[in-house]
Each structure stands twice: as C-alpha cells, then as structure tokens.
C-alpha cells in the first residue's frame, strides 16, 4: 500500500466503546477532503431480537492481530475498488450490551453512489473475512456461537457447512 493510501484509511479493533459518533467525526475531518461531497457512516448495533430469540448480551472473540490486519486490508481494497476519498472502520471485541455499537464504518467520496456502494461492500466483506466470532447470550440463559453448526460426534457430515 502506498503511503498516500494509508493516509486515507484508519482502522482499529478495540475493547472500548464505539457508540459515540464524535470519534468518527474527528477522523473524517482529518482524512476526508473538500473534494468529498458525500459521507456515509454505518453503525452495526447489538439488536435485542435475533432469529426470534431475545438477546441479553454478546461476547465477541477475535483473533486480534489478524483482525487488525484484515480490517486494514479490506479498507485499502475498498479504496482501490471504489472511487472513495477516505475510509475509517473499527470493530469492537469483548462484552457488549444491547444497543451498543459492534462495528462502525465511515466513508467519504466525491459522489454519493460510490459512498453507498463502498460502505456496503466493506460491511459485507467484514462479515465474511474478519476473524471475529459472536457468542450470543439469550434472556433464557442459553448461549450460542453464531454461525457454528450444532456439533455431534458424527461432525464430519456437517463439514461442508464450514466451507
């Protein structure tokens, strides 16, 4: 990655709250430009209801060093794929309560179409590439690793679902 590209990307993985808009507002002021006519800011939040179950809290497990590296790679790739000016993205790890922000993405671009497409591409790509795992805890006391199939002794039959 060129230094110029790095100067337009800011990414981090954190245990600290991502709820405030202000930290992204500050970053956008720093890495955005007066040639950007559009800003898209996305937040993913812990929702009370998931697949019909009442969630009480979430715990995110992460492969920290790799997640940092992948998130940065994804955002630099977005700069190359889309006509965007700057990208900032962060993902939270650890314990999160309802309504808390788990992921946030800010994209600036000259034109809004590029901003919408890049923002969407980044969150979709995070969801397939970022080595982070969500452990959902429910109000009924149960918990579940999201995306993990139920594993039995005859697990190999389910292997295809992991690919």
């Amino acid at each position: 990655m060129s230094k110029a590209a790095n100067g337009r990307v800011r990414t981090w993985i954190t245990r600290e709250s991502l709820d405030d808009f202000a930290q992204f507002e500050d970053i956008v002021r720093e890495i955005g430009s007066v040639e950007d006519g559009a800003l898209l800011f996305f937040q993913g939040r812990v929702r009370r209801t998931n697949r019909g179950r009442a969630v009480s809290r979430l715990a995110y497990d992460a492969y920290g060093e790799m997640a940092e590296r992948e998130l940065s790679a994804i955002c630099h790739e977005a700069l190359e794929r889309f006509d965007v000016g700057s990208v900032a993205a962060a993902h939270r790890v650890g314990d999160l309560g309802l309504g808390e922000v788990s992921v946030a993405i800010a994209v600036t671009s000259a034109h809004r179409d590029d901003g919408y497409r890049a923002s969407r591409w980044i969150i979709e790509t995070i969801k397939v590439r970022l080595p982070i795992w969500k452990h959902e805890h429910y109000e009924d006391g149960e918990s579940h690793w999201v995306g993990a199939p139920a594993m039995e002794a005859e697990a190999p039959a389910g292997a295809a679902r992991f690919e």
């Binding site: 992460a62 590296r69 969801k127 690793w145 993990a148 292997a159």
Partner: protein, 83 residues
C-alpha cells in the same frame, strides 16, 4: 531439520470444543496445512474438526496445500460472525 513445531490457536466454538485456546503440534518437515488438520483430527484428537476447516498461517488465510515452517502460528478459524 526432520521435524517442525507449529503453534496452534483455536478460536470461538473451536476453543470451546477443544477445551483450549492454544496448543502446539510436531510435524514432519514440509508438512502442509492439510497434514496438520489431519493430525489434529486423528485418533484421540479433535474428531469434530471439519476436514476442510478454514485456517490462517501467520495471520493470513491459507490453503490446505500451504507448506508449514518451524515456528508458524496456525489458527483454526470457525465460521466468522463479526459485524
């Protein structure tokens, strides 16, 4: 060197099922990611581990055919669920 040693990491549900977050494995030199998975799944091992599990070597996603080196960090990656 006839044998290499790699560090293994188990995340998410794999950590829970393996009852450990970290381990290490000894392998023949020139072993691949696929060989390591085969070893881990072997007798008395992690028989629930899918044959084609997603693996990262030194923080990058790797293919089953990737050759391992002594000291590599190999992570077993369950279906990711960030966002």
């Amino acid at each position: 060197m006839d044998r290499i040693s790699v560090r293994t990491l188990f995340f998410g549900v794999y950590g829970e099922l393996a009852a450990r977050r970290e381990g290490s494995a000894e392998l023949a030199a020139d072993s691949t990611v696929g060989d390591l998975v085969e070893t881990l799944r072997g007798p008395g091992g992690l028989d629930w581990l899918p044959e084609r599990v997603v693996v990262a070597v030194n923080h990058s996603y790797a293919e089953a055919g990737t050759t391992l080196s002594d000291g590599d960090e190999v992570a077993l990656i369950p279906p990711v669920a960030g966002g």
